[in-house]
Symmetry: C2
């Protein structure tokens, strides 16, 4: 039953030998590896505004383009840094691997913890932003936000357990549809603003008031919020939110081996193309937003507000074709964000299997499931991301402060590692490369500091606490495995020695199963054999002794009195006593056990043998043997 269900849901198993790779061309590779990075254009602009608008009002829009330019500069620095990683690590250079090779174990564990936190947040943020694209278009779905997010995570989990390949066939259409949709939106917006000179979107006062209220801004007597002025800290917080646009850049450097030859060259070109798309789209969107002044809200995304105004409601409306443009924009936004989340479903299990392979995570995470995927990692990611979605109500802007800390920790460690790499390798042009990576490391470290300080109380404290905590767990797990390995190592000249052999058969009252168990026990050629019965009163004792004589059982019977009607305690005491007589023997306790056809039948039998077995298990030199008494279903009375 369980097996059939599993086959249906997960698919037929794949043999280890069936693993193979198909190499990707550049356009396909762009769609596969860049979905995470490019999809952040769907929320980065909005997140900048959502930090400032509730405090200072629509004036915030004046700071949007400058902040975006700073983010774009940062993007350029990081892209050039990673270009070098791609050439230096043609087999894939994630920040865990790069820090492990160059910075040593401590740094690599921090990078690993940051990466895992990151992937979890990629799922939570991308899914919640993707569902926001849907609920922006279909307002009546808003109240199902959390269930819809969980549904999306559930579908991705199943797809990945079945072994969804990151295939170009799947990724290319939605990614390029989104890129084109976004280009059309920005292009048409710029044309309408600068050529046609359309007016900005009318301010949505109701939405502005509710946003201001929910952020604690006082409302004046005229019903309009009493906005304050811009502060440096507010600008830094807004910048920190915009910096999440850089998430996902690392993906290409991880995936170098999947490119067609020459791998590094193709990957580097793709990386730059991705940077150009991401940067252009991000700045373009900021300029359009600056001019059209959408009133950001937690109900509708900025992309949806802009699309609705340009295509449908505004003076530039294009009639019923506008509907097509608008809905294609919203659905492709949803699709690219789900693909971005799906990237984490491939990366989280892969990275955790590498970390587990090094002994810092449970070994089970290195097990490939029936479909050659790391099933345990997939399920772990889905559960933790689902918990985050529920805890933060599926609201993207609530999750953003948690997001950037892990990302920039990874960037910093990876670039710092590259600096040391160049110094060690001293390849051609290493000094120039070193400078580029040093700039990258410094810039991302500064941003990390800005994010932590400006967003600490808004949620950044969570990864700040969590990442070191995960490192502590990594180390504890490693210590455990090392300890076990030392404990079971075979010492030089070790000879396993036969010990004397005591067998105890546990007996309730005498039936066929007990007679068979005693025959089995005698066949083990024990040096000493004993049947033990735990009795609660004299009647029970007389009964068992009488049965023993009647069946002429050729084994000594020892009855143990248990005044508190307990099984395990008195048996443990007896075993201790026997052990003291022969301190060097192995004691085998035989527990006859009913095996029934149905699980509910099992519930009808006493479970005290389970308790006894759990306690005996902890005893040194004690072996527990379950001799089954098979009770067959009534229909086939005998076997």
């Amino acid at each position: 039953m369980y097996a059939a269900l599993k086959r249906l849901v997960v698919g037929t198993p794949l043999a280890s030998s069936e693993e193979h790779h198909t190499r990707l061309g550049r356009p396909t590779a762009l769609s596969v590896f860049a979905s995470d990075a490019i999809s952040s254009t769907a929320y980065a602009t909005e997140e900048i505004l959502l930090v400032m608008v509730p405090v200072v009002g629509m004036v915030a829009l004046d700071s949007l383009v400058p902040i975006s330019l700073v983010v774009a500069v940062l993007l350029t620095i990081v892209i050039f840094s990673y270009r070098q990683t791609i050439y230096a690590y043609p087999n894939g250079g994630g920040s865990y691997v790069v820090s492990r090779e160059n910075l040593g174990r401590g740094a690599s564990l921090i990078a690993g913890a940051a990466l895992l936190v990151d992937y979890i947040l990629t799922v939570a943020v991308s899914v919640s932003a993707g569902i926001a694209a849907i609920t922006s278009a279909f307002d009546e779905l808003s109240r199902y936000r959390v269930p819809l997010c969980l549904l999306a995570i559930g579908v991705m989990t199943l797809a990945n357990l079945r072994g969804a390949k990151e295939s170009g066939k799947l990724f290319a259409p939605p990614v390029y549809t989104y890129v084109v949709s976004l280009a059309v939106l920005i292009g048409y917006g710029l044309f309408e603003v600068f050529v046609k000179g359309i007016p900005p979107i009318p301010e949505n006062v109701e939405s502005l008031v509710s946003l201001a209220e929910s952020h604690g801004t006082a409302i004046g007597a005229d019903g309009y919020p009493l906005f304050g002025g811009l502060t440096l800290l507010l600008l830094l917080r807004a910048f920190s939110s915009g910096a999440v646009a850089l998430t996902g850049i690392e993906a290409i450097s991880n995936g170098v081996p999947a490119f067609r030859k020459p791998e590094s060259h193709n990957a580097a070109t793709t990386l730059v193309a991705m940077g150009l798309i991401l940067g252009t789209a991000f700045i373009g969107l900021s300029v359009v937003s600056h001019n059209l002044k959408p009133t950001v809200s937690e109900e509708e995304t900025v992309l949806s507000i802009l699309g609705r105004y340009l295509y449908l409601d505004g003076p530039s409306s294009v009639g019923s074709f506008g509907n097509v443009l608008y809905y294609v924009l919203q659905f492709s936004t949803f699709a690219i964000l789900i693909l971005a989340a799906n990237t984490a479903f491939a990366d989280f299990p892969r990275v955790s299997s590498i970390i587990a392979g090094d002994g810092f995570l449970p070994r089970q995470l290195t097990n490939r499931g029936d479909r050659l995927v790391f099933s345990n990692g997939i399920v772990t990611l889905a559960v933790v991301a689902g918990i985050l979605i529920v805890a933060f109500g599926g609201v993207t802007s609530a999750l953003i402060p948690l997001y950037a800390v892990g990302v920039f920790t990874g960037f910093t460690l990876s670039q710092a590692g590259m600096v040391l790499h160049h110094r060690r390798e001293r390849e051609r042009g290493w000094r120039r490369h070193e400078v580029i990576n040093a700039i990258g490391a410094t810039a991302t470290l500064v941003v990390l500091g800005v994010v932590v300080v400006s967003k600490f109380v808004y949620g950044a404290w969570i990864p700040v606490v969590l990442i070191p905590a995960i490192v502590v767990v990594f180390k504890a797990i490693k210590r455990h495995y090392d300890h076990v390995a030392r404990s079971i190592a075979v010492p030089e000249g070790y000879r396993s020695r036969r010990k004397r052999h005591t067998v105890i058969v546990l007996v309730g009252n005498v039936h066929r199963g007990v007679l068979d168990a005693i025959t089995y026990a005698r066949s083990l050629s024990p040096d000493r054999i004993l049947a033990v019965s735990v009795v609660h009163d004299d009647d029970q004792q007389r009964a068992i002794e009488e049965q023993w004589q009647r069946y002429e059982i050729p084994v000594e019977l020892r009855t143990v009195y248990s005044p508190y009607r307990e099984l395990a305690g008195p048996v443990m005491k007896l075993v201790d006593e026997l052990d003291e007589e022969w301190p060097d023997d192995v004691i085998t306790v035989i527990v006859p056990e009913f095996v029934l056809a149905h699980w509910w039948e099992q519930l009808l039998h006493n479970q005290s043998a389970l308790v006894l077995r759990a306690r005996l298990r902890l005893r040194p030199n004690t072996v527990v043997t379950a001799v089954p008494i098979h009770i067959h279903p009534r229909s086939k009375e005998r076997y």
Copy 2:
């Protein structure tokens, strides 16, 4: 840790020999056995009104006294019927025992199922009514109704697991305080009404409208409900609700052996006293209610409305002393209802242990816990009653329709059994006794019919379905135990025969634990021995074969290839093959198993051995032996 916690919560264990009885005098026995019956005065009058008032309005109060008189007649009949049971069954005559002796197995199982359902509802109804007494006095607690009910059940569960004795010391003060409080309320009420002539309580229109609305009665244009006229069915439904006043009468006939000598005589006298108190209070309360016309509601109990009016708010207010009278009334109502629920905590486990002793319920229910109580029964009762409370929102009137079916089924079977008892025994005056019990059986059967018909759609269908379903389960359990007993019976001349003995040691890679496991396996003198290693690829195969040679292990190694990275399947297949070679042997599979100091460490090791063990267990002629590899905490590296 667990043991220490259990000691703290449950107390130190008691030996079987520590069980003893203290005999109770009549006044104490009345408080111990009558709390269930007498406590129903706290809600019976109100439940009659809650059926009629939402449909016909305050006119319903005119039918209150007639209905109460019919209930009182029924009470008298049942009391006289049970008086005879007390004399006929001095060792305790519950309806399960009486029907088993006189009506046979089928009837006794129905009675047993009805009793169990009954006790569960006693807990649910009494606790919800008890908490209603508290929330009536403290309005702000209303919204915590369900958590408060669950808290009360939790406290009772703990108290009963500790082995709360039904001691007079505990029961007498609250029971008598309630009886006196109720007598004062009724006496003062009658005096004020008939001597002083105080006016009725002003109608609470708001409360009346909300009650009518929630029962689907239309509201007129003037905002007042459009009440209809009385129908026979409505009167029967109201009577059915009033009939729950009879619950708990059986308690004394169950408890005869606990009385001082002459037991039957004392018990019979106590039964009549209980009937007098119950009947007088019930009719008195109806007369007072009829005259003061409290507007029943689901927010405040009738007792609380009457007490508030007479002592505090009305023209008969007695100043600050009224506060004392009112709060003593409410708290003693709460206390007696909790004691009534507690009665079920003693009776449910006792009855289910009797039924389990006959083989119709899981044997575990006959096990006495550390404190000589039937712990499993107590926990079962608490969980099911808790589920009912949550499902019905802790609202007494929603639970009442479920209650009476079980009670009157038990009455009918018990009295019918007594009729047959008299015919068989033909004791002195048996013809008169027979007539009394026949009247009792007929009257309660008629009431059962009335309850089922009039309340079927309001919830009575639940016990009507549930009681037969429980009987079906009883019979299935009995069939199972009979089948097991037949299966394990030792046939005449049975000789358990030594079989040939194959031992398989499961090996991952070679370490000290494996060497020890192989030594142990060889010490079992097998006829055939084999080490088995499951490998996923050629590298693993070479590695294990190389280790085998290096350590010169004197046992044949068989490697099994598992392309799907699975352990259990290939091992099962190998065992099947071996079994075919020697069809008559016993196969012992030795699974070396890490035993770690902490549970979280166990999670770090592969659980696939557990899956294997579960599957091997189901195989005939297969014994699974866990040879522990003890890994000691790091602090004490060697033992």
